[in-house]
């Protein structure tokens, strides 16, 4: 291994998923033990929305033992259900065993290709990404529980959730336009996207939000051991003008961080280490 790996602990590459090119994996230079999956929010970017998480390996052993998978999707175009289905369908490609071909490009390996399977899976979601994570998990749980003996337990149900200001209670009425202020076509874009399925689905008490909550609480309540993955650990920003701050009854006790906005609550830096610690431990 060359001398640079001690200064930058991961190398990244883009991975193709269902014909798309918007997932990015940061590969540890040593043998990792866990996979941390990040799902961004509305109008976010796969990696940029989580800026500086990729540098956490410089500060913490925990992150030097992790590969980081950043999930991208077009939030202004794709339906929430569609993205959740893709997440549920594609994740088994990466966990518990990473395909060896991801470790090499043109015969050059990022690390020796003999790593053991991952032993931990963390699903980290921000805002809309939090709802997508919840939906993917409850779909996986339902499919498995309703087909007793016919399907193996989905690896997805090994996961632990870490959600930053999840949109599982929907967007606030005025919050929607907040996303469009900086776009040159801001108001036009906002008005046209009111016609999209995401806008309908993110209205408080929409059928999608209500069903996701009811199903999650039912499965997590009736099958607490098998469906522990459905219980989220949540960190809210305070103030948060974008989403309704509602947790599910089956979630762990939630936390809030003061002085961070909806957009910045999930971005660690040298003076704000809370996001890094929250992902590691589940508490701020």
């Amino acid at each position: 291994m060359d001398s640079h790996s001690s200064r930058l602990t991961h190398s990244h590459r883009r991975v193709s998923v269902e014909g798309q090119n918007d997932w990015v994996i940061y590969l540890n230079h040593d043998s990792p033990t866990r996979l941390v999956v990040f799902v961004h929010g509305f109008r976010g970017r796969a990696v940029a929305s989580w800026r500086r998480f990729e540098e956490c390996g410089l500060a913490s052993v925990w992150w030097r033992e992790s590969d980081l998978l950043f999930v991208g999707y077009d939030s202004t175009r794709e339906s929430i259900v569609g993205v959740a289905k893709r997440l549920g369908h594609e994740l088994p490609r990466f966990y518990p065993n990473l395909p060896p071909d991801l470790l090499q490009l043109d015969g050059t390996f990022v690390r020796a290709p003999d790593a053991a399977p991952y032993t931990e899976l963390l699903l980290v979601g921000h805002s809309l990404g939090g709802l997508i994570v919840r939906l993917a998990l409850v779909d996986a749980a339902q499919e498995w529980l309703e087909s007793p003996g016919t399907r193996p337990r989905p690896p997805l149900l090994d996961a632990e959730q870490r959600l930053f200001s999840p949109a599982s209670g929907g967007f606030r009425a005025a919050g929607w336009l907040g996303f469009f202020q900086t776009a040159p076509t801001g108001l036009a874009l906002a008005m046209y996207l009111r016609l999209s399925s995401a806008y309908t689905d993110l209205q408080p008490r929409s059928p999608l939000l209500q069903e996701t909550r009811q199903r999650t609480e039912r499965y997590a309540g009736v099958h607490p051991r098998d469906c522990a993955a459905l219980r989220a650990r949540i960190l809210w920003s305070n103030p948060d003008n974008i989403v309704e701050s509602r947790r599910y009854d089956t979630d762990y006790v939630d936390h809030a961080v003061y002085g961070r906005t909806h957009q910045t609550v999930c971005k660690p830096d040298r003076l704000y280490e809370t996001p890094r610690i929250f992902v590691e431990t589940g508490a701020p």
Binding site: D2, R45, E55, G107, T108, A173, A174, T185, A188, S196
Partner: protein, 334 residues
């Protein structure tokens, strides 16, 4: 094939693969050249700070017109942790090139005039249809066709990203660096204004409820909604001014798209006159991206409607009816 374990060489291979994909998607022409120059600049900078190995067999040839891309490169701007800054910046630069943004930049830089106008016309018509038709089964497809127009100019790049800076500053840079830039951007702004007015007009019935919510919310949202209301009122003034469409020279013979463009130009004229009372025709032409001839035709007609009046020095300011427009402006509603 030999097997090597090297994170830095792996980074280089990943970098080459990603820029090859982007350059290929750019479709040739000036945009591809610019991306090649940008890739070359990233590579040079990355080798200087030992992010990439210095041995490289896949370097891009520097293009002759790359100076406007690489201008101002300075490794000191990467700060105390150049590897992390470089790595984060590189990924951010890639992610900025979404499909919508790639199409936007390719059209802006490489489309000929006919193709450019065809796409602008198409997108305005698509979006009008999208909001006028309820339960439109083709909505998704239509928004896909319009996504370059709605989302392509929306760069989320940080200011300090050196090799990609030309993209985050593209509104100014491309305008200055290309002969057609100024005209193309004026047309683009006009089309955006039309799209915004179309959307605003068709949703105005929902406005009061949204405003009631916004007034209970944070100040920043009140400002957004006030801007929204400003546009609604401007459109209503235009619609209800007696004979205005005819005065604009776009009566029964004019197309709907043409009427909308003219209404957008009128709105921008009124906004500029309100913002800078006494503004001259040359200044106005520059500010709103119209020709002097268009303004020499438009302003006397608006003067007859009482919406503007000429000053003694030959400039233009709001007239009695135009001041109704002024009173609907941002900050007046609370």
């Amino acid at each position: 094939m030999s097997t090597t374990v090297s994170p830095t060489l792996f980074r280089l291979r990943s970098f080459e693969s990603e820029f090859d994909r982007l350059i290929s998607a750019a479709g040739g022409g000036l945009f591809s050249d610019a991306l090649r120059s940008e890739a070359d600049a990233w590579l040079q900078l990355g080798q200087e700070i030992d992010y990439f190995p210095t041995t490289n067999d896949g370097a891009w040839a520097r293009t002759t017109n790359g100076s406007w891309v690489t201008h101002g490169l300075d490794r000191d701007a990467l700060g105390a942790e150049p590897l992390s800054e470089f790595d984060g910046g590189l990924v951010e630069a890639w992610e900025d090139l979404t499909p919508a943004r790639l199409e936007f930049l390719a059209l802006l830089l490489d489309a000929d005039e006919r193709a450019w106008h065809a796409r602008l016309t198409e997108v305005v018509e698509l979006m009008t249809n999208a909001v006028e038709t309820t339960d439109n089964p083709a909505l998704g497809e239509q928004l896909d066709r319009a996504s370059w127009f709605l989302l392509g100019a929306d760069s989320q790049l940080s200011d300090g990203l050196l090799p990609a800076r030309w993209r985050s500053m593209d509104l100014a840079t491309i305008e200055q660096q290309t002969e057609f830039g100024a005209i193309r951007f004026a047309e683009l702004h006009e089309a955006w204004a039309v799209a915004e007015m179309t959307a605003t007009r068709l949703t105005s019935r929902e406005l009061e409820a949204e405003l009631a919510n916004a007034r209970r919310g944070p100040t920043v949202m009140r400002n957004v909604w006030n801007r929204f209301l400003h546009r609604v009122r401007a459109f209503e003034v235009l619609e209800t001014s007696t004979g205005l469409p005819e005065a604009l020279g776009s009566g029964a013979g004019g197309s709907d798209a043409r009427r909308r463009r003219e209404a957008a130009r009128t709105e921008r004229t009124l906004a500029a006159v309100t913002k800078r009372p006494g503004i001259s025709i040359p200044e106005l032409a520059e500010e709103i991206g119209a020709t002097r001839k268009q303004l020499h035709q438009l302003l006397p007609k608006l003067e007859r409607e009482g919406m503007v009046e000429e000053t003694r020095s030959g400039g233009w300011r709001p007239g009695p009816a135009g001041r109704r427009f002024e009173s609907a402006g941002p900050g007046q509603e609370d």
